[in-house]
């Protein structure tokens, strides 16, 4: 940072005003994070950053610059995961300018002012580092959530001995069908179930793509000796399937999950009767 023409004033100001600048910095940042991170944690973070800033500004210490960037990236990543907004994250860095400027103004030192301008644009660059890390960390969080959702939304549950249930919810695209099919087939191997009830109550529309995926899943299960029943075929879905001309062939379809279960029980020779009072 120092330009060699005389001794730079800013490093000295950062050192002598350390306590005041840090306190003010902490104060500004705390306002924005409101309780989502403790004052003690934040103070530890900022103190570490401040020490690195001091070293970097003093000059001749390239290692400090690298460490500073790494520390900032780490903080941005954890902020992104904690659900802070990108501006809240960047403010943590930018606030150091405000805190330091107040010190510079107090001294009315013209050279310090001049150096502050350079310092300011240097901090802006650091702010961009936080932004970039924040954005990629957020993308990672979203990608993880999507994956979880994909798995979460395709559970295979046991309805009865030898009868599995596969409730489908939402849009059935190729990726999801693949997951459904794999999960179902795996469970069929594990359990040796004879029946699987695929429930489409939560699927808003059945078009040719969804139908094709369903048919493939049923065929694959059949090859493994399991019969599938498709349930949750509501009136509007039934009418659309007919209008599209989709043939489910000899695959059993039922209006409700209860009907499908009753059907599967009956085919397995299990009788469910109410208790009759004598």
């Amino acid at each position: 940072m120092s330009d060699g023409a005389g001794k730079a004033h800013l490093p000295e100001l950062l050192r002598s005003g350390r306590e005041a600048v840090l306190d003010r910095w902490l104060e500004v940042v705390l306002e924005g994070v409101r309780g989502r991170i403790t004052e003690r944690e934040l103070k530890a973070e900022l103190t570490e950053l401040y020490a690195l800033i001091e070293r970097a500004v003093a000059g001749g210490d390239e290692e400090a610059g690298r460490e500073l960037r790494a520390a900032l990236a780490e903080i941005s990543r954890s902020r992104a995961r904690q659900g802070f907004s990108p501006s809240e994250t960047a403010v943590s860095v930018f606030a150091v300018k405000q805190a330091l400027l107040e010190q510079v103004s107090a001294t009315a030192d013209m050279q310090a002012y001049a150096e502050f301008i350079e310092f300011s644009s240097w901090v802006d660059d650091l702010g961009l580092v936080t932004f970039e890390t924040y954005a990629s960390a957020r993308e990672q969080v979203i990608a993880d959530q999507m994956e979880q959702l994909l798995e979460l939304s395709t559970p295979v549950v046991k309805l009865w001995d030898g009868i599995l249930g596969v409730p489908l919810v939402g849009t059935l695209d190729s990726a999801r069908t693949q997951v459904v099919m794999e999960t179902l087939l795996e469970r069929l191997v594990e359990t040796g179930a004879q029946f699987a009830v695929i429930d489409i109550t939560g699927v808003p529309a059945v078009d040719t793509e969804v139908a094709q995926h369903l048919l493939k899943t049923v065929m694959a299960a059949r090859l493994m000796g399991t019969d599938c029943v498709i349930s949750g075929v509501r009136p509007q879905i039934a009418q659309t399937i007919v209008a599209l001309g989709i043939e489910f062939g000899d695959i059993a379809t039922k209006a409700s999950l209860a009907d499908a279960l009753a059907y599967a029980l009956e085919c397995s020779g299990i009788q469910v009767t109410g208790r009759t009072e004598a």
């Binding site: 695209d173 078009d207 793509e209 094709q212 509007q236 209008a243 599209l244 989709i246």
Partner: protein, 135 residues
């Protein structure tokens, strides 16, 4: 004639879902019955996917319309600048597909809608317009 026009690009599978959701929203807003909503949504799904799969991508416009006799409805216009459909009769035949589909999408969309218009030219592109009136 139109209350609100919305145009969506169709360049990915997610866009097909978005078109479907928009048609659902406009149809529900217009007061269409659940059965008819499902029909026009399914038709939209077929046409949007054809645009994406066969037409190399394009766009969809969804509008709520009113005819001369004051009847309200929902109209969907799906357009692409793809290869076009060389033989319309074949394409509208149930079970005919140039790919690995069921070959039911296009004839199905025609049956699901009240009005169906197919405008295509080999090498220039395809535009399909479907309308569903509120009963």
């Amino acid at each position: 004639m139109t209350a609100q026009d919305v145009e969506l690009p169709i360049v990915s599978n997610e866009d097909v879902v978005r078109v479907r959701q928009l048609v659902r929203a406009v149809a529900a807003e217009a007061g269409m019955s659940l059965v008819d909503q499902t029909k026009i949504v399914t038709a939209a799904s077929e046409l949007a996917r054809n645009t994406f799969v066969h037409g190399g991508g394009g766009s969809a416009r969804v509008e709520s319309v009113v005819n001369a006799r004051g009847r309200a409805g929902v109209r969907l216009v799906v357009t692409d600048n793809g290869p076009g459909i060389p033989d319309i009769d074949k394409a509208l035949t149930e079970g005919w597909t140039s790919g690995s589909g069921l070959g039911l999408g296009l004839p199905g969309a025609r049956r699901l809608a009240d009005e169906f218009e197919l405008d295509t030219k080999a090498g220039e592109g395809t535009t399909v317009t479907v309308t569903k009136w509120i009963r």
